[in-house]
């Protein structure tokens, strides 16, 4: 097995059953290398987000196989997948999805506290470092719901990075941001993929964003038309 293949999908088939039976993904298969910065693009309804959620292990209702870090994840139990996500996958969503009642720092710390591999003090230091990396360390003790959209998105990225996952997945990570913040987020992704060798898979509408990635996979009607 080549060691630099981090993620591999084969023959992914998925149906939606509501409102009618509809095939969203039609035998999708590809490989992603370690450290790659990959954009998933396509028109709305092309199945790119659906594919991302299959890759994320959250959606388990599909046919085909998903292998991440040489581990076959298809047909694993939900609770095992949760533990796997916690350690190996970081998420950034379009609408940041922080826990509003916790401070920015705590939001960043939560996945690491859940993983429970290093002490609470170390986690706190690392979370603060991450916030500093993203330039929002001054907001560390503010409640998440008191931050602006751009700040919240950066906190969400800091959270995605806290366990140093192999893969970071973004569902329209810049979809809700202005061009300045989009640039900031893009630069962060670029930097972590280059310097830390973390793989990034992002679904995006933004052509400009996509064009600056290492690789683009384009979907149409549930099939890969370009990669």
């Amino acid at each position: 097995m080549q060691n630099d293949i981090i993620l591999k999908v084969d023959n992914i088939v998925k149906y939606f059953y509501v409102p009618d039976k509809f095939q969203v993904l039609k035998r999708v298969g590809f490989e992603v290398k370690r450290g790659e910065f990959l954009a998933l693009v396509g028109k709305s309804g092309s199945g790119k987000s659906t594919l991302l959620y299959v890759l994320s292990t959250m959606d388990t209702d599909y046919e085909g196989s998903l292998i991440i870090k040489d581990t076959l994840l298809t047909n694993k139990k939900q609770n095992d997948l949760a533990a796997f996500r916690n350690e190996h996958i970081g998420f950034v969503f379009q609408f940041h999805y922080l826990l509003p009642e916790f401070s920015a720092l705590e939001n960043v710390m939560i996945p690491a506290l859940k993983l429970n591999k290093i002490s609470k003090e170390e986690i706190e230091t690392r979370a603060y470092e991450n916030l500093k990396l993203l330039g929002i360390h001054e907001q560390a003790l503010k409640k998440a719901n008191k931050l602006s959209g751009g700040q919240q998105q950066r906190v969400a990225i800091a959270r995605a990075l806290i366990n140093e996952p192999s893969i970071i997945m973004g569902d329209e990570p810049t979809g809700n941001l202005d061009s300045k913040n989009t640039q900031v987020v893009f630069d962060i992704f670029r930097e972590i993929s280059k310097e830390k060798g973390q793989t990034i898979i992002a679904v995006t509408h933004d052509d400009d964003f996509a064009n600056h990635c290492d690789r683009i996979i384009e979907l149409m009607d549930g099939k890969i038309i370009n990669q």
């Binding site: 959250m58 999805y97 826990l99 509003p100 916790f102």
Partner: protein
């Protein structure tokens, strides 16, 4: 396996919407305080009732019962024939208990017996000049009678122990004394069914608050009673026995019956209406309290359900970043249990407070001064356990629902 982060999330949830948390806790507090108060009140009422009853009733009574009905003895020999016997009689060969000492010695060997007293009960007419009232006079073992029935508590005039020396003295119930226009130091004539008449001196009065007793009873020394009916020194009509736990008469009667050749009867058998009353009150109290707890449980269920609906996106995100179904269940169940424990303790305190207040309400009937109340540790523990179980169930159902949330459907909208 309660992890730090799960507890931390539970804590934040509980403290960030403190009003909602307090409302949920108040539900438990209310349920448990009512439970504590209701059971305390009912137990208090039952105890008061029993105290009243046991002022003239021992836990176990031994007496010489009438023999079996053999008036139609011929029919037993010739069951298919018609035989008329006129004026058939049941003959009672023995009256009362003749050799009480042997029985008393046997009883002393028994454990669990806290008091034994002997009585010679006689049905008599009380006469004071023209006034004549029928009733009963009890010849009693002065010291033991007080141990078993706590009679000195009911004395309104005179000194109970004086009866030990005074074979001519008599203690008369207040209403009986009033009907006969008697005061202390007056003379009272007693007429037995055998036509024997004797004078006694009233040396005291008593009041039990049981109307039928207060109208018809008097006490004399047991030796005076034996003298009155011409019986020997070991003759008694009744042996009254008190035991440690008055609910456990059956055991002791089963042990006693083979060694005592007389009828042994528990207070429950003799007074089934008392037992029925107590049991019915208990059932009502438990039913009412459980309904209250159930309502409180629904309150918690509702609030937990609401919380989970409000936090559905948070739950989805927790699952996305690696929290498993059991983690989510644990987070919300912890919240419910914390609500249950804090609500439970305040409920116990509040219930005790209500019980205390109600206990102070004046209630001047049948020897009571205030509404009766019992404070039983067992009931308080039970109330707390019930509260905890209710909150556990009421929290578990929504928590399970939360654990089954599919993050994809929530996050994708």
């Amino acid at each position: 396996m309660a992890s730090y982060i799960n507890n931390r999330i539970s804590k934040i949830h509980l403290t960030s919407n403190i009003k909602q948390t307090i409302v949920a806790m108040l539900g438990v507090t209310f349920g448990i305080s009512m439970y504590v108060f209701m059971t305390g009140f009912m137990t208090g009422v039952n105890n008061a009732q029993n105290d009243l009853a046991f002022s003239s009733l021992a836990h176990i009574r031994v007496y010489n019962d009438r023999p079996a009905d053999n008036t139609n003895i011929a029919a037993k020999v010739f069951p298919n024939s018609v035989i008329n016997l006129h004026n058939a009689k049941i003959i009672k060969y023995t009256d009362g208990i003749k050799n009480s000492n042997i029985i008393l010695d046997a009883l002393k060997a028994q454990k669990d017996i806290t008091g034994v007293t002997t009585q010679v009960n006689i049905n008599v007419f009380f006469k004071n000049a023209g006034n004549k009232v029928n009733g009963s006079v009890s010849g009693v073992d002065v010291v033991n009678e007080n141990k078993v029935f706590n009679i000195s508590k009911y004395i309104t005039e005179g000194n109970w122990n004086e009866l030990k020396q005074r074979t001519d003295g008599i203690f008369v119930a207040v209403d009986l004394a009033k009907n006969l226009s008697l005061k202390v130091n007056d003379n009272l004539n007693i007429l037995t069914s055998d036509g024997i008449s004797k004078n006694y001196k009233v040396i005291g009065l008593f009041k039990t608050d049981v109307a039928s007793i207060d109208k018809s009873k008097a006490y004399i020394n047991i030796n005076a009673a034996r003298h009155l009916i011409g019986a020997n020194q070991t003759y008694v009509t009744d042996i009254q026995i008190n035991i440690k736990d008055y609910n456990k008469t059956e055991n002791i009667i089963n042990k006693m019956a083979p060694i005592i050749p007389y009828k042994t009867e528990s207070w429950q058998i003799a007074n089934q209406q008392l037992v029925a009353g107590s049991s019915l009150r208990e059932i009502i109290a438990i039913a009412v309290s459980l309904v209250i707890l159930l309502v409180a449980g629904f309150g918690i269920y509702n609030i937990m359900n609401m919380t989970i609906n409000q936090k559905i996106r948070e739950i989805a995100i927790l699952k996305a970043i690696g929290f498993s179904g059991p983690d989510v269940t644990q987070i919300f169940l912890t919240e419910a249990i914390v609500i249950g424990i804090i609500g439970g303790f305040t409920g116990l305190g509040f219930g005790y407070l209500i019980a205390n207040l109600v206990n102070k309400i004046p209630f001047e009937v049948a020897g009571l001064h205030t509404l009766p109340m019992a404070y039983t540790l067992k009931d308080y523990i039970l109330a707390f356990m019930f509260g905890l179980v209710t909150t556990f169930i009421a929290g578990y159902i929504p928590a399970r629902k939360a654990s089954k949330i599919d993050p994809v459907t929530i996050i994708r909208g």
